[in-house]
């Protein structure tokens, strides 16, 4: 099967902006648009006893995660266009970023009706020094982790639900006794700070303990960052977030706000990261991807996370046999053994109409989890 090197764009938006976004995607002729419900968490100031004291609460906001693919030449025009249209440079509205991916199983010629939007006059604050971090934890722990991320001023985390797929095959019917529900926390960080951020999260979520979770970091091409971490009263003519955004725009980079996150515990100085990995995402009709995940587990994947999403977009709407209900299984594989899995998958019926599968492969910089010594 012929791989296609494309750009994957992910846009995390306040759900009040979703309608505008969807219409624009139709106008641009985007063939496949995946959408998933999620939430972002922010710190909110709460005044108690007539302003005498304030406390900080965690406030949740509904976000939609949109994902779509583009040929490289469309990346900048479409990103700029969307940032301007949705005012993503303003704090609190969402964020957008792009990644390099290799796709298998995309139908031929689906980008033929894609339109390049008119060039935007104003320069957009697209940062090029970002990384993406995905952290998978037990359900219920997402908010706790999200809060510590916010309090460190790292970035605004986005959380969504998934199910762990690893234990299914091993336990038989007993699997019902263990909760497989997971929460996936996604955030972006500056490349320079990324190692410290990973360490911080590993320490905070105790990911180096068995069964606590998994974290991996992947490179981003370009993107914006939502700077609204804190919701509260502004005592000045501009909020801190607006100032940060303005300076990012001027400098076209975020390294000016690099932090050295002091890290206390000597225990975690031994950096036992997993390297030489690839991220495999299997997209298919809902309920159909499990057998292929099992193939990946046989090839050495430690586990997989399944999330449900919907597939919209021009192409999806036109083919009546496809339903919009999809699922996405994400897993991480060793580079060396991944070929075995890929071959098996190509020889299976994953790409046939029943599953309507698409395989997405992307780079992983590093990962961390509990490793028995």
């Amino acid at each position: 099967m012929k791989p296609e090197k494309l750009i994957k764009v992910t846009c995390i938006l306040s759900n009040l902006l979703s309608d505008t976004f969807r219409k624009e995607m139709e106008n641009l002729g985007i063939p496949l648009l995946f959408v998933q419900p999620s939430r972002s968490v922010l710190l909110k100031e709460k005044r108690i006893i007539l302003d005498y004291r304030t406390s900080t609460l965690l406030q949740e906001f509904r976000r939609d995660i949109f994902r779509f693919y583009l040929p490289k030449k469309f990346e900048l025009p479409i990103l700029s266009h969307l940032i301007h249209l949705l005012e993503l440079n303003q704090p609190g509205r969402g964020s957008i970023y792009s990644e390099d991916v290799t796709l298998f199983g995309l139908p031929q010629g689906i980008f033929s009706s894609l339109k390049i939007p008119a060039e935007e006059k104003r320069k957009v604050p697209l940062l090029s020094d970002l990384v993406g971090i995905n952290c998978i934890v037990q359900r219920g722990e997402g908010n706790i982790l999200g809060r510590s991320v916010l309090e460190r001023g790292i970035s605004v985390p986005t959380l969504f639900y998934g199910r762990g797929m690893g234990l299914r095959g091993k336990l038989g019917i007993l699997r019902v006794t263990i909760s497989l529900e997971k929460e996936i926390l996604f955030l972006t960080a500056q490349k320079q700070d990324s190692a410290d951020v990973i360490n911080f999260i590993v320490h905070n979520a105790r990911l180096n303990h068995p069964g606590k979770g998994f974290i991996y970091m992947f490179p981003l091409r370009k993107g914006t960052m939502d700077t609204r971490i804190y919701l509260g009263r502004t005592r000045h003519l501009a909020s801190m977030e607006q100032i940060i955004t303005a300076i990012d725009e001027l400098k076209q980079a975020s390294d000016w706000r690099r932090k050295t996150i002091p890290f206390a515990s000597p225990r975690n100085r031994r950096k036992r990261y997993l390297k030489s990995l690839l991220n495999y995402t299997l997209l298919g009709n809902e309920g159909e991807t499990e057998p292929y995940v099992k193939m990946a587990m046989d090839a050495g994947a430690g586990g997989a996370t399944l999330s449900r999403l919907q597939c919209l977009g021009k192409f999806s709407a036109e083919s009546t046999s496809r339903s919009a209900a999809k699922e996405m299984s994400t897993l991480v594989l060793n580079r060396e053994t991944s070929n075995i899995f890929q071959e098996k998958l190509e020889n299976s019926d994953f790409f046939q109409e029943g599953v309507a599968g698409i395989l997405e492969v992307s780079e992983v910089d590093l990962a961390s989890t509990y490793l028995p010594s």
């Binding site: 509904r62 091993k170 038989g172 007993l174 919701l231 809902e286 919907q310 209900a325």
Partner: protein, 689 residues
């Protein structure tokens, strides 16, 4: 990364896993149920200060309820809801819209027929006398099968409309704006017809009862499955809701229409004497299931002399054989009196016995002395409950599985989990129904019978005591504030002296006996009846609150909403908001019973309010609010409310206990919509600042 180890788990390792899992599920339900149990217990013991009857029996029952709920809920999540979702995911793709619509209609009908709502309605309706509202009575008795079919059809149409709504993205708001005023107008018209007057209260209660604990999760899951495949519309993830709303409103229309159709053939309301008189017999029998049922009813509601004259043509032999058959033949007894206790308490009443002795003096009444147990043998009760559970779940789940296998012909994902879930659901439903009777409902009806002590006084004839060879010289006299004489005497109870009021009429000079019947006055004293009423209404509020916290379908809906909103909509928040709404609804419900306010006056304003609130709310919240209200009157709240209503109705004669559930269903809508307005305001604040 190394490939994972695979292999069977040993029993040794499996048992702790199963134990942990069971422990978590049971403790969750224990927490949910504990509120209502503790509340009822503490209220009866501390506020009313009346001891609990059969406490151990009740405790066992409650334990079964907790266990049953744990199994049932887990069964919902493992088996029933995934089945519904699969249908929603696969069927629209594989079948034409027409076929799918027929399936939706079929599903709605089967769901209603499977769940035993009609017996609840009959119990609730038992306080209405046949001559007060003949049409109402006949619908619940003679035409009860019609009633069930009509309700089932209503639900079927609702499910059909609901599914079409998803496929074609029709908004919910206009549907509600159309239906609610129509129903209110229809009810208002019915109110002015003396025969239909009681019926509209029944109709609205039917709407609340229909969507039961098995129907709701299936329909919600089905709706979710469908909306995921269409991917259309704004907030499409939330619009899997709305079917329950329709399934609560459309049956009201159906029942009212049934009433109108049958009205012409039904006798008008009349007095007891006229209704049970010989001349009216032909007309009166029309209202009952058959002549036997008519006779059985007449026996209980007249003096034996009247019955002998009116129904048995003055022939004592026929009358005797009727009584003898009923008393000695359990099968006939059960046919004539589905609740045998009613006949038993009638025939063992002293005065009735005396009358019978006089009327049937020429015959041998010795058979009445033979002790008879009218209790259902314990095994039989359990078997009945098991059949109930099987009936509630197997037709529905079976139809879904059959349809999936025939139409879709795909391999079932996680079929073993689904089967396990079905087994859990059946077991849970069985244990739950078994436990409800002896546990919560028992507690509830005890409290209900004693409840009006808050604002009036009640006597406890079952605790009366007779003092033989009573010496009048022990009676003292005191004077009250108003100058009246109050007579009393003292008895030694253990180490203390207790004061017993002396009423002349309870002293029998011939036998020298005084019968003391314990009495408890209004809770806060006779001068404070209004405060007593306030206590009653506060009780009602917290009852509604506590019962809602235990509702399984609401928990299922809450979990589904949390999942679909990626955690922004907390399950606890939904349950608490709805609980407050139900509490408020019960306040009005109890007010209605005590002050006999017509239901329409209490129902129309909130329904109009929420229809108006719809225009200020998003489609997302409209679906959540209206559906959660339809969900909430479920297997915990309904029996409790009915038991309490009946218990109170016994002590406040001539009042109907219908309509409480309808009220308990409308205020949650307002509660959720109002809180939704606040949430949406907060949300839009983030992106505007």
């Amino acid at each position: 990364m190394k490939p994972g180890k695979s292999g069977k788990v040993s029993i040794q390792n499996a048992l702790p896993m199963v134990f942990q899992y069971g422990k978590k599920k049971i403790s969750d339900q224990l927490k949910a149920v504990s509120f209502i149990v503790l509340y009822l217990l503490l209220f009866q013991l501390l506020v009313l200060r009346i001891p609990i009857d059969n406490a151990l029996y009740a405790a066992l029952g409650i334990g079964l309820v907790v266990l049953g709920l744990a199994f049932f809920l887990e069964g919902l999540f493992l088996g029933i809801m995934p089945l519904g979702e699969l249908c929603g995911l696969w069927l629209p793709q594989k079948t034409k819209t027409v076929l799918f619509s027929l399936f939706a209609l079929f599903l709605g009908v089967v769901a209603t027929l499977a769940e035993p709502a009609i017996s609840i309605l009959q119990t609730a309706g038992s306080s209405i006398k046949a001559w007060e509202a003949p049409l109402f009575f006949s619908i619940l008795n003679r035409y009860s099968n019609f009633l069930v079919l009509v309700i089932a059809l209503g639900v079927g149409i609702a499910v059909l409309l609901g599914m079409l709504r998803f496929l074609y993205s029709w908004p919910l708001r206009p549907l509600i704006t159309l239906l609610v005023p129509l129903l209110l107008a229809y009810s208002a018209w019915a109110y002015f017809d003396p025969n239909l007057r009681h019926l509209y209260a029944l109709a609205w209660d039917c709407g609340g009862i229909t969507t039961g604990p098995v129907t709701v999760p299936i329909i919600v899951a089905l709706g979710l499955g469908i909306t995921r495949t269409t991917g259309k519309g704004t907030d499409s993830s939330m619009s899997g809701l709305g079917v329950i709303t329709l399934a609560s409103l459309i049956p009201v229309l159906a029942v009212l229409t049934l009433g109108v159709i049958l009205n012409s053939s039904s006798p008008d309301p009349t007095s007891r004497e006229r209704f049970l008189s010989k001349e009216m017999e032909k007309e009166a029998v029309k209202v009952f299931r058959n002549r036997d049922h008519y006779l059985s009813y007449a026996v209980l509601h007249q003096s034996p002399a009247e019955t002998l004259q009116n129904q048995f043509d003055g022939d004592p032999e026929e009358f005797l054989s009727f009584l003898k058959e009923t008393y000695t033949n359990p099968k006939i007894l059960r046919e004539r009196y589905p609740n045998p206790e009613l006949f038993h308490s009638w025939i063992t009443d002293k005065e009735i016995r005396e009358d019978l002795n006089i009327l049937l003096a020429d015959f041998d009444l010795g058979f009445l002395d033979a002790p008879r147990t009218f209790q259902v043998p314990p095994g039989q009760n359990s078997i009945n409950k098991l059949m109930l559970a099987l009936r509630a779940i197997i037709p529905l789940a079976g139809s879904l599985i059959l349809v999936l296998l025939l139409v879709v012909k795909k391999r079932f994902p996680l079929f073993d989990e689904i089967l396990l879930g079905l087994v859990f659901s059946i077991a849970g439903f069985f244990l739950f129904s078994l436990g409800m009777d002896s546990g919560l409902t028992n507690l509830g009806s005890q409290t209900g019978k004693n409840l009006h002590i808050t604002f009036s006084s009640i006597t406890f004839p079952e605790r009366s005591k007779t003092y033989k060879k009573f010496d009048l010289s022990v009676v003292y006299t005191a004077y009250t504030d108003t100058g009246e004489r109050y007579e009393f005497f003292l008895i030694k109870d253990g180490d203390t002296l207790k004061e017993i009021p002396f009423y002349r009429e309870r002293y029998n000079p011939d036998s020298g006996e005084y019968t003391h019947i314990p009495e408890r006055g209004p809770l806060l004293g006779t001068e404070n009846r209004l405060s007593g009423l306030a206590v009653l209404l506060t009780f009602a509020f917290f009852l509604g609150l506590a019962a809602t916290l235990a509702e399984p379908s609401l928990q299922a809906l809450g979990v589904t909403l949390e999942e679909v909103s990626a955690g922004t909509f907390h399950k606890g928040y939904l349950i608490h908001t709805v609980a407050i709404g139900v509490g408020i609804g019960l306040i009005f419900g109890f007010l209605r019973i005590v002050m006999d306010i017509p239901l329409l006056w209490l129902l129309a304003p909130p329904y109009l309010l929420v229809t108006v609130l719809n225009f200020f709310s998003t489609e997302e919240f409209i679906g959540i609010a209206w559906d959660s209200a339809g969900v909430t009157t479920g297997p915990v709240t309904v029996p409790l409310v009915i038991a309490l209503g009946l218990g109170m109705g016994e002590t406040l004669p001539g009042v109907e206990s219908f309509g409480i559930l309808a009220l308990a269903s409308v205020y949650p809508i307002a509660a959720v919509l109002i809180s939704g307005l606040f949430i949406n305001r907060a949300k839009s604040r983030v992106i505007k600042e």
